[in-house]
C-alpha cells in the first residue's frame, strides 16, 4: 500500500567525529548541515526553514543562519534536551503541511568531550529556576537521578541488573560493525554487572558514551520529495510531551513516552506491532527499558523480561533496536542522543544500515527521544517513519 504523508526526510548526516578538538561548535553545525543537504541532493540555497536546539550558539537560530548563509522564512528553536530534534521533526511536518516552509534543516552539534565534561552533570540554569533551591544543594547529577528511576522500577516490578545489562549487550553487538563507534567491543551481561558501580544500581556500562560531534536532518514537502527519488523516507506520525514531578506526586517508573507514543501511533494509524525497527533513546539502560514499556512494546513492568536474552539484537531478537550501537556504544553528540536515533532509523528504511545489522525488508520504523532527566523534568518525542513505498 502507499500511505499518504505530509512530509519526508530527504537527507541525514551523522558527523563521523567523536572528539572534535580542532573544530568549533559553529563549524560542526555547518559541516553536518552540508552533509545532510548533500545526502538529500539539495544545497543551502534550497533551505527556507531552520531548526536548532537551545544550546546552539546565539539567540535561537539567528547566529547559525548567518554563519551558514541561510535565507530563512521559518524557524523554531524548541528546547527539550536530547529529544529536541524529534520535536523539530514534528514541528517541521506541521510547518510544511501549513505551507510555511518547504525545506527544513535541523542541526545539532556539541563537543563535551573536548571541553572536558567528565560526567553528565546537570547544567546550572541560574537563580530564576524555580526548583533550584530545593534540588541543587542535594547534588543531583544525571547518573544518580536515573539510578533512582532504575531502583524504583526494580522495587515495583522485580527488574534486575542482569535484565538491564542485556540492553547494553544488544547495543554492543551492533556497535562492533560501526567503525565510528566509541565502544566497539562486544560485551556480556557479566561484563556489564561487573563494571564499576557509578550510582547504584547503574554500572559504568549501563551509561552512554560522552562524545563530540553532531548530526543533521533535512525535512521536505511531498512535492520536493518527488523530485529527489526513493531514498526519501515518509514521516507518518509524531507526538511529543513533557513529564515532570507533578507537584510532588512523583512516579519514576514511567517516562514522557506515555504521552508522545499514543499521539504518534494515532497519527500514523499504526501500532507497536507494526514496527520493523526501533531507535530508542539510550542515555542509560533504564531509559530504554521504561521507554519500551511506555510506547506499548510490552506491558508496564514487563520490560526486563522483554529485553532479556538478546531480544533487541538485530537478526536474532524480535525487536531490533539501535543498530548503530546507540548512545550506549556509538555516539551521544553533545550529550543529546535524539538526532542519531532518527538518522539510524532512516538508514534502516533506506536499506543503508550495515549489512550485518540491516533489518530485512524494513518498511516501518520508530525513533524516540528523551530529554532532560526522567527522574525530574523530561521531554519526550516519538517519530514514526515509513520506507518510500510504505
Amino acid at each position: 500500500m502507499s500511505r499518504s504523508c505530509k512530509a519526508y526526510i530527504a537527507g541525514v548526516f551523522e558527523h563521523p567525529t567523536r572528539k572534535a578538538v580542532d573544530k568549533t561548535i559553529a563549524q560542526l553545525h555547518a559541516e553536518v548541515a552540508i552533509g545532510a543537504l548533500k545526502d538529500a541532493g539539495l544545497t543551502k540555497d534550497d533551505v527556507d526553514g531552520y531548526f536548532c536546539d537551545g544550546a546552539t550558539p546565539g539567540l535561537g537560530g539567528m547566529s547559525m543562519a548567518e554563519y551558514m548563509g541561510l535565507d530563512i522564512t521559518y524557524t523554531d528553536s524548541t528546547e527539550t534536551g536530547g529529544s529536541s530534534y524529534l520535536v523539530h521533526v514534528g514541528h517541521a511536518m506541521t510547518a510544511i503541511a501549513a505551507g510555511k516552509c518547504k525545506v527544513a534543516l535541523i542541526t545539532l552539534a556539541g563537543r563535551p568531550r573536548s571541553e572536558g565534561v567528565k560526567s553528565l552533570a546537570a547544567k546550572d540554569y541560574g537563580d530564576d529556576l524555580p526548583e533550584r533551591g530545593f534540588e541543587i544543594p542535594y547534588a543531583p547529577v544525571i547518573t544518580n537521578m536515573y539510578g533512582m528511576a532504575a531502583k524504583r522500577h526494580m522495587h515495583e516490578f522485580g527488574t534486575t541488573s542482569e535484565q538491564l545489562a542485556w540492553i547494553k549487550v544488544a547495543a554492543s553487538h551492533h556497535a562492533q560493525y560501526n567503525e565510528n563507534a566509541v565502544l566497539r567491543d562486544v560485551v556480556t551481561v557479566d561484563d556489564v554487572v561487573n563494571s564499576p558501580m557509578i550510582s547504584d544500581p547503574l554500572h559504568r556500562l549501563d551509561c552512554c558514551v560522552i562524545s563530540d560531534g553532531g548530526g543533521a536532518l533535512v525535512v521536505v514537502s511531498p512535492e520536493i520529495a518527488k523530485t529527489l527519488g526513493d531514498r526519501c523516507v515518509k514521516l507518518l506520525g509524531q507526538g511529543e510531551g513533557i513529564k515532570h514531578l507533578n507537584s510532588g506526586r512523583i512516579d519514576l517508573t514511567y517516562t514522557g513516552a506515555v504521552k508522545s507514543g499514543p499521539v504518534a501511533f494515532a497519527e500514523a494509524g499504526l501500532t507497536p506491532a507494526d514496527m520493523d525497527y526501533v531507535s530508542i533513546y539510550d542515555s542509560f539502560t533504564i531509559t530504554v527499558l521504561e521507554t519500551l514499556e511506555d510506547l506499548g512494546f510490552c506491558a508496564k513492568g514487563e520490560g526486563g523480561k522483554f529485553v532479556a536474552d538478546g531480544n533487541l539484537i538485530s537478526g536474532t531478537g524480535k525487536l531490533p533496536f539501535n543498530t548503530d550501537g546507540g548512545g550506549l556504544c556509538n555516539n551521544h553528540p553533545g550529550n543529546r542522543g535524539g538526532m542519531t536515533k532518527v538518522i539510524e532509523a532512516v538508514r534502516q528504511l533506506r536499506g543503508e544500515a550495515h549489512a550485518k545489522v540491516q533489518v530485512p525488508d524494513c518498511t516501518l520504523a520508530l525513533a524516540h527521544g528523551t530529554g532532560g532527566s526522567i527522574a525530574q523534568r523530561t521531554g519526550a518525542a516519538t517519530v514514526i517513519m515509513g520506507r518510500n513505498d510504505a
Partner: protein
C-alpha cells in the same frame, strides 16, 4: 555507621521561598498548601499548581516520611545518598539521607528530617533513618 558529609551548597532563595528558608534555620520544615483546594504541593510556590489559586499558605510539616527511591553516589570525593522521600503529607521531595549505613538502606524505610548548616549559614533539611 555515620559517614563523613560534604559541605552543603547554599540554596538559592527568592521572594517566594524566603519564609521556608527562615524556618529551616529554626529546624522547622514548612510545606505549602492551598486554602482553596486544600492540596499540599511540592516544591512550595506562590500559586497552587493544582488549581491556580494564589491563596496558598505555609504550615509546619511532620518532618516524617518514607524513602521512595535512592541511589548511593560512591564515585565522588565524599560519597552521599541521593533520595526522594515521600512525606506523611503525601508529597515527595528530593533530599540526601545522612547518619546511615549506605549498605542498609531500603525503599519504604522510615526517615525523619534533620538540619545541616550550609557553607553560607543557611540551613538545609536532610533525612535520616528513624532509629
Amino acid at each position: 555507621m555515620t559517614n563523613p558529609e560534604r559541605v552543603y551548597a547554599d540554596p538559592s532563595i527568592n521572594m517566594e521561598t524566603e519564609a521556608y528558608w527562615e524556618a529551616t534555620k529554626q529546624n522547622k520544615l514548612l510545606l505549602k498548601k492551598c486554602d482553596d483546594c486544600g492540596e499540599t504541593h511540592w516544591y512550595p510556590r506562590a500559586i497552587c499548581p493544582h488549581c491556580s489559586s494564589s491563596n496558598t499558605c505555609w504550615y509546619e510539616g511532620s518532618g516524617k516520611g518514607k524513602i521512595y527511591s535512592f541511589s548511593v553516589m560512591r564515585r565522588v570525593e565524599v560519597p552521599y545518598v541521593m533520595a526522594y522521600v515521600t512525606l506523611d503529607e503525601g508529597v515527595s521531595l528530593l533530599t540526601n539521607i545522612v547518619e546511615c549505613d549506605f549498605d542498609n538502606l531500603s525503599i519504604d524505610q522510615d526517615v525523619e528530617v534533620v538540619f545541616r548548616a550550609t557553607q553560607g549559614d543557611q540551613a538545609l533539611p536532610l533525612f535520616r533513618p528513624v532509629a
